[in-house]
């Protein structure tokens, strides 16, 4: 019976993640496109787009130095399904489904284990596991991130798997701890945020299980050695300035305004010594950190609107469903009340999962705190289970009322996603490139040069992707520029020129095809074709 339920939940998870995977979201972002093309390139000759052989530390890509593992995972799907949207997103969707499965096992291990000797929990740990898995399967947060090539989503799988294997090792087979280490290491090679989160998590697990780890010191020792070995290839890179480049660009500690305000406040206090203590810039930065931390827990973000970035949320429902709210709160209260099994892992996991994101200016951020999944779902499931056990009278009435709201909430999300989402947010998904490039390809033999705007960002990767351009040829032809801040611009290859500045190109010889945003089109140009977003607004124009 339980297996049947689990299979049913996995089926739901599968459908919600794979149905129309290639069509909705409507098009590929530049990061997705880069994953796909790098996988394609690695699949051909083992080199990334710019020719580094089997890179383990990073993919340079647009100068954002992506952790490379997603590209490796994507090699086989690209080989099997071809270089298209579905193949690019396949690993994320697949690991999304697998995360649902592992969550089930994890929850059972969390609440039903022989070390904490709570026999009564055996009866319901599996039920809570099933509910957690179901809630994760239908979670808007997890669905949105599983339906695009977000490396974070894969990292989340490896983190959940790592924790589960760790608990299995504690409970049953001590040597499983080595597999756990491998899983955590893979997450570090998948997503940047995991590089902060996983060490903190391991520290907490090590403290929580210190006596057991000491008891198994042989296995612990080998696990440690293995971890060092696994991290060696990337370790040198972690210490280079490039690795912290992105972090420096977006973090709150470079905000000079905070220091200015602090200085002004000290001045208002006539430079008193106590004022220098209370207006210390470290305190001000700490406060700033906490503010950003709290942003990630704001009710609007979690339950109403979700992340302001439409790539992570339909803007109609929160990162979590609204119906989850009472159970989420109840779950926290019950968890602390009952203190069952390794309950303490969940709140600590949730708390440190938000740390990395709180140092960034852009908060809340559903992607950077995806490492907290599925703690929200587990808490909700826990609350749901005990609330229903507790409610005695009017049970069925309350149950059906909540069930109705639950159904309504899910329908509301899915309807919004399949009926309106594509049209409303196609621009956020860089819609238009594919159509424009298909057109360019169909007419390019009539032109000597094709000038394409860089206004929408990174057009070169779309050309490579949609024309399935030979990577070797690309590497030999491309003119690449690298900025001081590390950003990479491909200026031209083959007939294609990418620029923001159209003024330097001669017009009128009809041998050059231009593609630009509507506002950039020269007045006297002969417009050949206009490309529209799904909401009807023009996004690109081809002209002579």
């Amino acid at each position: 019976m339980k297996k049947l339920f689990l299979a049913f939940i996995l089926l739901i998870a599968f459908i919600l993640r794979f149905y129309q995977l290639g069509e909705n979201p409507p098009s590929l972002t530049w990061d997705e496109t880069a994953w796909g093309y790098n996988a394609y390139s690695l699949g051909i000759d083992g080199r990334d787009e710019f020719g580094r052989f089997l890179p383990l530390d990073y993919l340079e890509s647009f100068g954002d130095f992506k952790p490379p593992f997603y590209a490796y995972l994507d090699i086989i799907p690209v080989k099997v399904f071809g270089l298209n949207e579905f193949a690019v997103r396949f690993p994320s969707a697949l690991f999304g489904v697998l995360t649902v499965l592992v969550t089930y096992f994890l929850v059972i291990k969390l609440f039903d284990n022989h070390r904490t000797k709570q026999t009564q929990t055996q009866n319901y740990a599996e039920k809570i596991g099933l509910i957690s898995a179901l809630i994760l399967a239908i979670s808007p947060w997890h669905i949105m991130l599983s339906r695009a090539a977000f490396e974070a989503n894969v990292a989340t799988f490896f983190i959940v798997l790592g924790i589960w294997l760790f608990l299995e090792a504690i409970e049953k087979n001590k040597w499983l701890i080595l597999l756990s280490v491998v899983s955590f290491a893979l997450s570090l090679y998948t997503f940047n945020t995991a590089r902060v989160f996983v060490p903190l998590l391991l520290l907490i697990l090590a403290i929580g299980f210190r006596s057991l780890l000491f008891e198994f010191r042989k296995q612990t020792f080998f696990a440690f050695i293995l971890a060092v070995l696994l991290l060696l290839p990337a370790f040198k890179f972690f210490l280079t300035p490039q690795a912290s480049l992105r972090f420096k660009e977006v973090n709150i500690f470079s905000d000079i305004k905070i220091v200015e305000t602090a200085n002004k406040q000290i001045q208002n206090d006539n430079n008193a010594f106590w004022s220098k203590i209370i207006h210390n810039r470290r305190l001000a930065y700490s406060a700033e950190f906490i503010k950003h931390y709290f942003d990630n827990l704001s009710p609007s973000f979690l339950f109403i609107r979700g992340d302001g970035n439409p790539k992570f949320s339909t803007q109609d429902v929160g990162q979590l469903y609204l119906w989850e709210l009472p159970f989420f709160i109840a779950g926290i209260l019950y968890l602390f009340r009952k203190k069952e099994g390794y309950w303490w892992i969940i709140p600590l996991w949730l708390i440190i999962g938000i740390f990395p994101s709180a140092t960034a200016r852009e908060t809340p951020h559903a992607l950077r705190i995806e490492t907290t999944l599925p703690t929200f779902q587990i808490l909700t499931a826990y609350g749901l289970f005990f609330v229903f056990r507790k409610v005695s009278y009017l049970r069925y009435l309350i149950f059906s009322f909540i069930f109705l709201f639950f159904i309504f909430n899910i329908l509301y999300y899915l309807h919004g996603y399949y009926a309106h989402y594509k049209r409303e947010f196609s621009q956020e998904w860089q819609y238009g490139y594919k159509e424009a490039i298909a057109y360019v390809q169909s007419v390019e033999k009539d032109y000597e040069k094709i000038v394409f705007t860089e206004e929408l960002g990174r057009p070169y990767i779309y050309f490579l992707f949609h024309t399935k351009y030979d990577p070797k040829k690309f590497r030999s032809e491309a003119v690449v520029e690298r900025e001081v801040f590390g950003f990479v611009h491909v200026r031209n290859f083959d007939k294609y020129v990418f620029t923001k500045d159209f003024s330097s190109f001669k017009k009128g010889n009809n041998k050059t095809l231009f593609v630009n945003t509507p506002s950039g089109v020269a007045e006297n140009a002969e417009k050949l074709k206009t490309f529209y977003l799904l909401n009807g607004n023009p996004i690109l124009v081809a002209y002579r």
Binding site: T261, Q265, I277, A287, K291, L297, S298, I304, H415, R423
Partner: protein
């Protein structure tokens, strides 16, 4: 015990009365309006529009319930039309709220006190919970903020606390119910939010304590209801008869702010209709958008950034929220301990109801979260925090390592001191510097200068563009312009919120430099005037940026 209570009241009084007229640096337009209307009613029995003994002040077409203005009359009479005199009723009711909260929470903590095992410290002796709650309220940035401005909400909060306290008393001694009914119904005249909150909390009280209520002699219940009806009648009458009563509600509610969020929806409905999508027509219904907006507004008040950010600049000290960050862990512990602790179930229900219905009035409005419209949250935050502190300290006293215990105690205490001291500095020193513009600073000096040279000019034009909105009210307030005179002069020229005003030699309207006659005195923002015009005086905000220019053309 009494000494500690007296000390708390003393702290509350100092924090609410010290420099009352100087911090915040200037009355905002609502304060000025309440003050001048009090002055006007005091002298003539009529408000600025000439309405005799109004229950509602039209003011800037926001139709303020009038009771605050009446409360201010004795102080304005005694001390003159001064800023601090106008603010004094709010401050006094703030102090009374702190006192009443002590007595109210005694009911609440009764059970908690009886199970005091393992208590080692004298600090946790009886009534400590109530003392702690009222102390937290006494130093609460949220409560201090609105006790120090002439604003109705703070009096409304006080009346709610009184009414609930009298109600609980009344369950044992029914005479108190009469007083409870009186204060609760009077609250309709204090502040808009109370028209929603007070009925809701009383419905909750009646449901929770239905058994106790049935046990009370019908005589008292009848008289209470009669008192409530009698007191509330004029206001109910006004609300039902006068269309203006609704205009404020419409002005601020999100229902009236249709354009942005319904536009997207209309687009969706068109698409659904094209696709014959029946499910879509149901899900994209306008009512669902309203419902969602309401819920979103409601939930926005449970934002953790209340602790660090706050909402509008006038609602908190700069760089502070309205709650102390040191309170956060204790608040969470308190909610946990209160949920599972050995408290009277009815009291639990009451406090949670109180906490959960406080944001309802504000949720119908746009511009959320809103610290004033949800002032009725107080003192529930303080109650939870106090329980959390007691609970945490009880757990800590069980700790076997004595040194560690002292270390933790002193760390918490130091952090509290730092937080409190920071707040005092932010409020009493930094607020004036950083937010004087939000407080519409500058009029006091401007009016006295203009009055000094007024006789040299035929006509004086004062801008009323933002940030100088409602400048006429500040000129009335600071010049103490005779209300009888103003009522006569303003009949024809003074209108509502966006209208221009006129009295004496003054015109209040946007300045158009090109069209002004020469020989006119102009008062406006520096940006209203071309360079090189003849500046008589420039008044700066407290951070040194220019605020108001007085210029002769």
């Amino acid at each position: 015990m009494k000494k500690i209570l007296l000390l708390i009241i003393f702290i509350a009084a100092v924090l609410r009365l010290w420099q009352l007229g100087q911090v915040p640096p200037s009355p905002d337009w609502d304060e000025a309006a309440l003050g001048y209307n009090a002055y006007s009613i005091m002298q003539t029995g009529r408000d600025e529009y000439g309405k005799l003994f109004p229950v509602v002040l039209r003011s800037f077409d926001d139709y303020k319930p009038a009771l605050y203005a009446y409360l201010a009359i004795p102080f304005v009479k005694a001390f003159g039309l001064e800023v601090w005199a106008v603010r004094l009723p709010s401050a006094i009711f703030g102090i009374l709220t702190v006192l009443t909260t002590y007595f109210l929470t005694i009911e609440l903590f009764k059970k908690f006190e009886t199970e005091k095992k393992n208590l080692t410290s004298h600090f946790l002796a009886s009534r400590s919970g109530s003392l702690l709650t009222s102390f937290l309220l006494a130093i609460s940035p949220w409560h201090i903020q609105f006790s120090r401005i002439a604003f109705e909400a703070n009096v409304g909060l006080a009346f709610n606390v009184f009414a609930i306290f009298f109600f609980l008393k009344g369950l044992k001694k029914p005479v108190w119910l009469l007083l409870s009914a009186f204060t609760a119904s009077l609250n309709f005249y204090v502040y808009q939010s109370e028209k929603v909150f007070t009925p809701l909390i009383f419905i909750a009280l009646l449901i929770i304590f239905r058994k106790e209520i049935f046990a009370i002699s019908k005589k008292y219940l009848m008289v209470s209801v009669l008192i409530a009806l009698f007191v509330a009648m004029p206001m109910l009458n006004f609300m039902l008869v006068d269309k203006a009563a609704l205009s404020r509600a419409q002005g601020v509610s999100f229902f009236s702010d249709k354009t942005p969020f319904l536009k997207e929806n209309v687009q969706r409905l068109i698409i659904d209709r094209q696709n014959n999508d029946i499910l879509g027509l149901i899900l994209d219904n306008r009512r669902i958008v309203y419902f969602k907006t309401f819920l979103a507004n409601y939930l926005s008040h449970f934002e953790l950034n209340w602790f660090l950010k706050g909402d509008l600049p006038r609602h908190h000290a700069p760089n502070m929220g309205v709650l102390y960050i040191f309170e956060l862990p204790f608040l969470l512990i308190g909610i946990y301990a209160f949920t599972f602790g050995n408290f009277d179930r009815k009291i639990k229900a009451l406090i949670f109801f109180w906490f959960l219905i406080s944001p309802i009035p504000a949720s119908f409005t746009s511009g959320v979260p809103h610290a004033i419209r949800t002032l009725n949250f107080l003192p529930t935050f303080q109650i939870f925090t106090a329980i959390g502190i007691l609970f945490a300290f009880r757990k800590l006293s069980d700790l076997s390592l004595r040194h560690l215990r002292y270390l933790i105690f002193s760390f918490i205490f130091l952090f509290f001191l730092l937080n409190f001291f920071y707040y005092l500095n932010q409020y009493f020193v930094q607020l004036n510097y950083f937010t004087s513009q939000d407080w519409q600073y500058g009029y006091k000096k401007a009016v006295s200068k203009v009055w000094e040279i007024k006789n040299n000019y035929q006509k004086i034009v004062v801008s009323n563009k933002p940030y100088l909105d409602q400048s006429y009210m500040f000129f009335l307030f600071y010049s103490k312009y005779p209300p009888s005179l103003y009522q006569k002069e303003s009949v024809l020229s003074s209108g509502g919120f966006r209208e221009n005003h006129k009295f004496d030699k003054f015109e209040f309207r946007p300045i158009e430099w090109e069209n002004e006659n020469s020989g006119t005195l102009l008062v406006g923002m520096p940006s209203d005037f071309p360079q090189g015009s003849k500046v008589i005086e420039t008044i700066n905000f407290l951070d040194g940026t220019p605020a108001i220019s007085i210029i002769e053309k």
